[in-house]
């Protein structure tokens, strides 16, 4: 899939390879034992775009996201981040690529022995040694204020609700100012009000930071709210990709069924 991304107008992006998509997934295959999970998926996302990957539970959406950040290896196919193929990179070189990426886990995956503040500060402590302790602390406070968690710095992850954990996970993903954001089921397990709050937060962050984002979800309402493009996956392949209106006009039975039942 060859996608040409529009040149970015802002001066700070000068020097980037604007023609290459920020994320490019080409003919990805992945199986676990005899079970085929991804069967030739190709997707691409440019800077400033959000792609929602939809599908029924167990269709390999999270596996796709984990392959994009290199937590799992595909059986075949390529993942390119800003044009660089991440296959075959060792853990240290992959680390350099991952510094441009933020990942928010489905179950937040906060470090349970660290406070909320320490969780968000983790990446800064490891990668921004040029920042003083107080600068790091200021940056953490700024991020936590951005996600509405500024009053919970000293709390442990076990002391805050699931929705709050998602917010902290988002703040942690944004700590290194990534230009790619990967969100795995950001609204799963939340009540409708909590889901709407997270959706608004993601929209706000995307507007402010202009990242390339992939949001994996099975929540159609959330996908419609936060993503400009949607890709519907079934049996390891992309059934249809386009705007929500294009999906609504699709005459593919599975698409109609999914939209009708969601």
């Amino acid at each position: 899939m060859a996608t040409i991304c529009a040149p970015m107008p802002t001066p700070e992006q000068a020097g980037n390879d604007h023609d290459a998509p920020a994320i490019s997934v080409v003919d990805l295959h992945k199986s676990f034992a005899d079970q085929k999970v991804l069967d030739g998926i190709s997707l691409s996302v440019c800077r400033g775009q959000t792609l929602a990957v939809l599908g029924r539970s167990g269709t390999g959406k999270s596996v796709l996201l984990r392959i994009v950040i290199g937590l799992q290896k595909p059986d075949s196919g390529a993942v390119r981040i800003h044009g660089q193929d991440i296959a075959g990179l060792d853990i240290d070189r992959l680390g350099a690529v991952r510094m441009k990426m933020g990942f928010s886990f489905q179950h937040s995956a906060l470090y349970d022995s660290l406070t909320v503040e320490q969780n968000v500060m983790f990446s800064l402590q490891h990668h921004r040694k040029d920042m003083s302790k107080s600068m790091q602390r200021d940056r953490v406070r700024e991020l936590l204020a951005e996600v509405g968690m500024e009053g919970h710095l000293e709390k442990m992850p076990s002391e805050i609700s699931g929705g709050m954990q998602k917010r902290v996970g988002l703040a942690r993903a944004l700590a290194l100012k990534p230009d790619i954001l990967l969100l795995d089921e950001p609204t799963a397990g939340l009540d409708p009000i909590g889901s709407a709050e997270i959706d608004d937060l993601i929209l706000k962050l995307q507007t402010e930071h202009r990242m390339a984002s992939i949001v994996v979800t099975h929540d159609l309402h959330s996908a419609k709210t936060i993503a400009g493009r949607l890709a519907l996956i079934d049996k390891g392949s992309v059934v249809v990709e386009g705007t929500f209106a294009e999906l609504q006009n699709s005459d593919i039975e599975f698409v109609r069924q999914f939209l009708g039942q969601s």
Binding site: L71, I91, G95, R98, F103, F105, H107, D112, L176
Partner: protein, 282 residues
């Protein structure tokens, strides 16, 4: 599948293809334990390679390293010291009885000190640390693995082998000889106290008698061999923890297998190292 089973299957009218398939699956089932065993060693080898690479590549995780030195060293000290003291008392009581029977009571201080420092102190320290630290590391890393915290570390562009494994393994390697010295000290001290309670003997006399004719080769190799025990405990516990699968049950299995496997390998390594020490440090 035995010959009798094959004949029975033929009599029941089974197709030759079905028979071949049954034989093949029976063969596969019987080879599975060997397969699992070899796979475990292969995975351990790859894990060790990642750990070695992470250990020699900067940046180094000094802060986590000091935390682990405290966690593994200071926190194990009371238990190791108590075990060393108990061993000293038991050895003193047992050796006194045996040596008196054979008319070699004057050898009692040397028997206690040599037994404690040569073998009992190091192996008891190794086994106690396998239990306390092995279970702790195995359960902690397994819990982090099943809750995706290790993935989160990796997604944050931090090498989990460097942050979690190298720090713990190095802390085990550095702390085991020091803990062994503590166990030895307590063992000898309590051995003397037990001895002097039965038959008064000054500490000076006890030490002079115990260390007469001894040299550094008698004490340094047995103490430093515990660094190998530390390597085994750290490596196996981190490996078992970081490869865990399957929720709370997986965490339990990782903790148990960390203790069992590290204790087993400590004992096996001890056999090899004792022979090695006897050859190279006679």
């Amino acid at each position: 599948m035995s010959e009798r089973d094959l004949n029975a299957a033929r009599e029941m009218g089974a197709h030759p293809g079905q028979l071949a398939q049954s034989m093949s699956s029976a063969l596969r089932a019987s080879l599975r334990p060997i397969d699992t065993f070899l796979e475990w060693f292969g995975d351990l080898g790859m894990f060790s390679w990642q750990v070695v690479r992470a250990a020699v590549t900067p940046p180094f995780e000094f802060r986590e390293m000091f935390r682990q030195l405290d966690e593994i060293g200071s926190m194990s000290l009371p238990l190791v010291a108590a075990a060393g003291a108990a061993i000293g008392a038991v050895l003193s009581l047992e050796a006194r009885y045996s040596l008196t029977r054979f008319g070699a009571k004057s050898m009692l201080p040397a028997a206690i000190v040599y037994s404690v420092i040569h073998e009992t102190g190091p192996i008891i320290t190794g086994l106690i640390v396998s239990g306390r630290v092995g279970a702790g590391i195995g359960a902690e890393l397994a819990s982090m693995k099943v809750t995706e915290q290790i993935d989160a570390i990796e997604a944050s562009a931090v090498n989990p082998y460097k942050l979690l494994a190298v720090t713990r393994i190095l802390a085990c390697i550095l702390m085991l000889p020091l803990l062994t010295l503590a166990a030895d000290f307590c063992g000898v001290l309590v051995g003397w106290i037990t001895q002097t309670l039965a038959e008064p003997l000054s500490l000076q006399q006890f030490i002079n008698s115990a260390f007469k004719g001894a040299n550094l080769n008698d004490f340094l190799p047995p103490t430093f061999k515990t660094a190998v025990f530390g390597l085994i405990i750290g490596l196996i516990s981190c490996f078992q923890g970081m490869r865990t699968q399957g929720g709370a049950a997986g965490v339990g299995r990782a903790a148990t297998s960390s203790v069992v496997l590290s204790s087993l390998f400590v004992i096996l390594a001890d056999v090899v190292l004792v022979k090695f020490i006897l050859i190279f440090f006679p």
